[in-house]
Symmetry: C2
Subunit: 676 residues, 2 copies
């Protein structure tokens, strides 16, 4: 698939071109003309000349070859225009026009129509209902964005047009550039995946930011992102995290893996950075413009300041971050600082060169601090004091930025404006508050050091989940699990005659008995589970009781009671990403606080071992108060086997292995349920 024509077409036709400055058809021509020299063919049924360029009544009339068609006509005319483009053998088209599936059923039909025309004529199509494409490298603006972005190394893929223009407008005044902007629109043909594949190998792009509302093909998306993240950072803001309805949840596992958490886990697993606010997202554009290679993590920081208060706040934020810390200055370094700084300066970290610091004092401190090999970067905080030299200080920061990464935080307003402009003009980003840079660095560092993402190919297309949510027959479930070496403890009996022999084979008690019935889900709620049964006589009485009292009882599971730590392992098939493995602590508290961790299948053993370490109550499994650690290896085997099973059985919606009792030597699955 050739996307090159979207980013550097030699010739382009604008269908729906106009001389009316209030129309999109004007902005499109004017933006194209404003860029690098190209063959430009306005197409209009009303006008003969647009912006001084001869216009054609139809694309068919254009005498030369056209690389790219840009369509901005009324929605109902688009099919006709697109067919014309097809006959003219135009390989690429952008449909700017709206009025398609975003408007409802009739629009959806119209959109299907243009999809099939595109397919028929082999047109690679972006849109409809999009803002277009911008490529700063080739000076191409195929959009109706009023603002022209600055040139930079960050690509921005967006399912929201509004956000695209807002980001460009904001980035411009912050002095931050982008490489390419792609407004994805309705994605009737091309989706985020094709553009990701293009950007993967785009030498002009060193980082990719994406605004997403939905993902068409979850597995393909993850596979692509996984391939890119070891080379280029990918930052994702996913909107609609709270508002998606979930399938009715039938199992514990289901409740523990809501769609929003699965999305975040999946992206993380693929090595991407996910953020939840636009502020954080926009600031990451700034930070990435300064730190193109997140494979060299910035975690150890020095804070240099002319004001105590803000530096203490910054130190607190670093302290409470997930992955950043204040680097420890050597005694030698402190001594050197003391020699050049006034006696009231603080030479710990934060280094406080106090309120009357002129640019020269920043210079002296940075001369020493920039040589610190332990520090990955220096956050320099400047507050406007009476004597503060904002512009001169900014020049000093630019000077040292090549030696050690400098992140300037200029708190205030007009008093520091000079300094901000100086930084922008020198290609450096500035921040207004410590949190802006600290939060951004923390987002990036959480993904470092990079570990090869474990996500790989698998044959299953997920598609929308379509099961009925029926519970699989208990015996059948056990059978299926055992084929994947997942053995559930206990014996499923349907005749009381077998009870005695079974108890004998289990050895000494206490035993547990559970009535199996479709109508009873949380067995402990209803008396269907009986524990601490000490002898065969007691077991006999309980058999009678269960058999008569539990509705629709199919049989009774008899097992020896296990002692150990309680775990839940499960699988839930996510609408977008398919089988999602869930691992968590069992018991009521763990359930109440949802202490769980997720992974999209396939999960390798290495990854399974890693995911278990993420739960909040991990100390319990590592062994508190002299206990031995649990057998993580056995648990990992269960996860890996469950991963395999769920990939090979797309008809299964949810699986609960709950509880799994784990000791230092083994893991026993006490109960299992499968929903199809």
């Amino acid at each position: 698939m050739n996307l090159e024509n979207f980013f550097d077409p030699k010739s382009a036709a604008i269908i729906g071109a106009s001389s009316d400055k209030n129309k999109v058809g004007y902005s499109l021509v004017s933006n194209l003309v404003g860029g690098k020299k190209r063959e430009i063919y306005p197409v209009s049924i009303k006008e003969k000349k647009i912006l001084g360029i001869p216009a054609f009544a139809s694309v068919s009339d254009i005498p030369s070859r056209v690389d790219l068609a840009i369509i901005a006509v009324r929605a109902d005319i688009v099919p006709q225009v697109l067919s014309d483009c097809g006959r003219k053998q135009i390989p690429n088209a952008i449909v700017i026009s709206s009025g398609f599936k975003e408007t409802g059923f009739a629009g959806k039909e119209l959109e299907d129509k243009i999809s099939s025309i595109a397919k028929e004529f082999d047109i690679t199509l972006l849109g409809p209902n999009c803002l277009g494409v911008i490529n700063t490298k080739t000076d191409l603006n195929v959009s109706f964005s009023a603002q022209k972005p600055l040139s930079g190394k960050i690509a921005f893929l967006s399912q929201s047009g509004a956000l695209g223009t807002a980001l460009i407008d904001w980035a411009n005044i912050q002095g931050v550039g982008i490489s390419k902007f792609i407004s994805l629109g309705n994605e009737s043909c091309l989706t985020e995946v094709e553009f990701l594949e293009y950007l993967e190998n785009d030498p002009d792009t060193s980082a990719i930011l994406m605004y997403l509302e939905n993902v068409k093909d979850g597995p393909k998306f993850l596979e692509t992102v996984s391939r890119i993240t070891p080379k280029k950072p990918v930052v994702i803001i996913k909107a609609g995290m709270g508002s998606h309805g979930n399938l009715a949840v039938m199992s514990h596992t289901g409740a523990l893996a809501p769609e929003a958490s699965v999305f975040v886990s999946a992206c993380k697993q693929a090595g991407a950075v996910t953020v939840s606010s636009l502020r954080a997202f926009f600031h990451l554009v700034k930070v990435l413009s300064q730190v193109p290679d997140i494979n060299v993590p910035i975690q150890q920081l020095i804070v240099l300041t002319n004001g105590g208060g803000p530096s203490v706040v910054a130190a607190d934020l670093i302290d409470r971050s997930h992955s950043l810390s204040l680097s420890i200055l050597s005694e030698d370094m402190k001594e050197s600082l003391q020699k050049v700084l006034p006696p009231m300066a603080a030479v710990g970290n934060p280094v406080d060169i106090i309120g009357d610091a002129l640019a020269e004092r920043y210079d002296k401190a940075l001369e020493i601090l920039s040589a610190d090999e332990n520090a990955d970067g220096i956050i320099v905080i400047m507050t406007p004091q009476m004597m503060t030299q904002a512009k001169e200080t900014a020049k000093i920061l630019v000077k040292y930025n090549s030696r050690k990464k400098i992140f300037p935080v200029l708190i205030g307003g007009s008093s520091v404006q000079d300094g901000r402009l100086e930084l922008i003009n020198s290609g450096m980003a500035y921040f207004t508050f410590p949190r802006d840079i600290i939060e951004s660095l923390d987002y990036l560092a959480r993904n470092a050091p990079k570990i090869k993402p474990p996500y790989g190919h698998h044959g299953n297309s997920t598609g929308p989940v379509s099961g009925n949510g029926d519970m699989m027959e208990f015996a059948g479930a056990l059978d299926l699990l055992s084929k994947y070496s997942i053995s559930v403890s206990g014996n499923f009996l349907t005749r009381k005659e077998d009870l005695g022999k079974t108890l004998e084979s289990l050895g000494a008690g206490p035993y547990a008995m559970k009535a199996i019935s479709k109508e009873v889900i949380h067995k402990t709620d209803t008396g269907a589970v009986r524990l601490n049964i000490s002898n065969p006589d007691e077991a006999g009485w309980i058999w009678e009781e269960l058999w008569t009292k539990i509705p629709a009882v199919k049989g009774i599971v008899v097992q020896k009671m296990e002692k150990g730590r309680e775990i839940i392992i499960g699988m839930k098939r996510d609408n977008t990403f398919g089988p999602t493995l869930v691992f968590g602590l069992g018991g009521v508290l763990a359930e109440a606080i949802k202490d769980t961790t997720l992974r999209i299948a396939p999960v390798s053993k290495e990854e399974a071992l890693k995911m278990m370490q993420e739960i909040k109550g991990i100390k319990i499994l590592q062994g508190m108060r002299g206990e031995l650690p649990v057998n993580f290896d056995s648990l990992a085997d269960i996860i890996v086997n469950l991963s395999r099973l769920s990939l090979e059985h797309p008809e299964i919606l949810e699986i609960d292995l709950n509880p799994v009792i784990v000791t230092d030597s083994s893991a026993t699955i006490v109960d299992a349920r499968i929903m199809v």
Copy 2:
């Protein structure tokens, strides 16, 4: 104590005045002269005239009465100057000079000296090492801040001077004003408490913001804040949350109540809003300038937007906030919207009036939405599209702001700048990202609806905690607890002869036995606790074992084993705020995730009942899976009694009641330890 002279002196002397524009002594005079007409007396040993005003060689030479002395001379001369002021009977003084306790031991001595001079002459003194005071209402700037703040209703008290200037500088370009700015400096005499008391009754101040690094008198501070918050919002940023060392922690309770958490709990209890980043803090200045009365909470929100993406992000943030929600629009309202908006607009909430919205469309939508009685406010998002009318739209927002609170979010840069300026000029605040306003509203709403803070007087001055951390003898501990109606289960035996009779009195087993020894803290780690003892014989063997194996055993507690939910209740004496009550779930998971809630004593029964509801695992106590709720009443009694005990026994550092076993009918304290 008269603070009025700090805010509106009729006459002021500047000691250390200067004509050199680079000196603080110049800025002080020039800032004073720039304000309302006052008698101004520069004092300089070098100059005869400063800024055209005759200067005096000493305050003693000033012929008239002086209300306020502003001292900006070298630190070592301050005592002499202050004595002169005393003899001249100047009632109030601000010491701007630095070089006192912030510089070490010698500076501390100098500071003690000026404190005692102030006391001797009855001078009410602010500083030293401070920036001074600004009062916009009386046009007074007794500081060397280069920027003059705009007038507003928010007071800012700061222990950091740098932050003061930064906030003023920032607020100015945001069009946000303040009423008073007070730089607290080293607080050698006046502290935050005296100024809080002043601001409590200041008619020009409707909200108070504070930057704090430490609090001198915790109980007094809380008492004052508690009194103010029902009338005026108090917002606190406390720096140094992560870096304070703790006392060596001896008990479970100690580990569960680190100093930073106690501070946040204490402020919350007093009704204040605490934030952790400067960005959030600064944005609250903006929001409070728009919403002076937080007792009318803003929780139900409408989002109106011209761009789908940003509104979805905003809706997500509202969804995930603690206390905000999207209000549900009535069908009538939706119909009205549909009539005036284009067919592609979305009339749910968010209301999306789409990218080509001109100001007129905002007008039509707001005409309808501002009449919604369910909504407390409307967040209006504007992204820069080709046709967006930033300025005209801003005018529309100003128009409706009087009918329904409008929070404008103008995402972008230069394209929306016109609109931002229009808002500022009309006295409205704007925001750049949805998070800025949503986070701020969430901070405020979390404290609403206001409940009378329970914090009251108590006679104990806390002072630094000074105990040795010794464990109190077990029998003594039990004795003390029982005086406060806190009875610990079990019998403390020191002779084996008493074992049989004791077991008999307890009734049927199983029993538990615990060896009491100073050397053994976590008893379960070492075999000092033995559970599930079924009969007197077994108890006899275990007695022997404990008595021989446990080091330094003092006795053995024998008790009947209780079944129920496990709780920990405790007290830790905080350095700043004194006795802090801790309530949490027991058991290893609860300990691993620190599922606890805190309150500063005294704690009323009502408050005790409320605090228990805050733990994450509250469902467990409310009864999951058909269990009855626990007896919250008995637990609350224990908390209240422990609160009383800890106030009356300042020698006690920490108390652990752990575990407390609670059922639906009663609460049994199984073990107790007291550290003095």
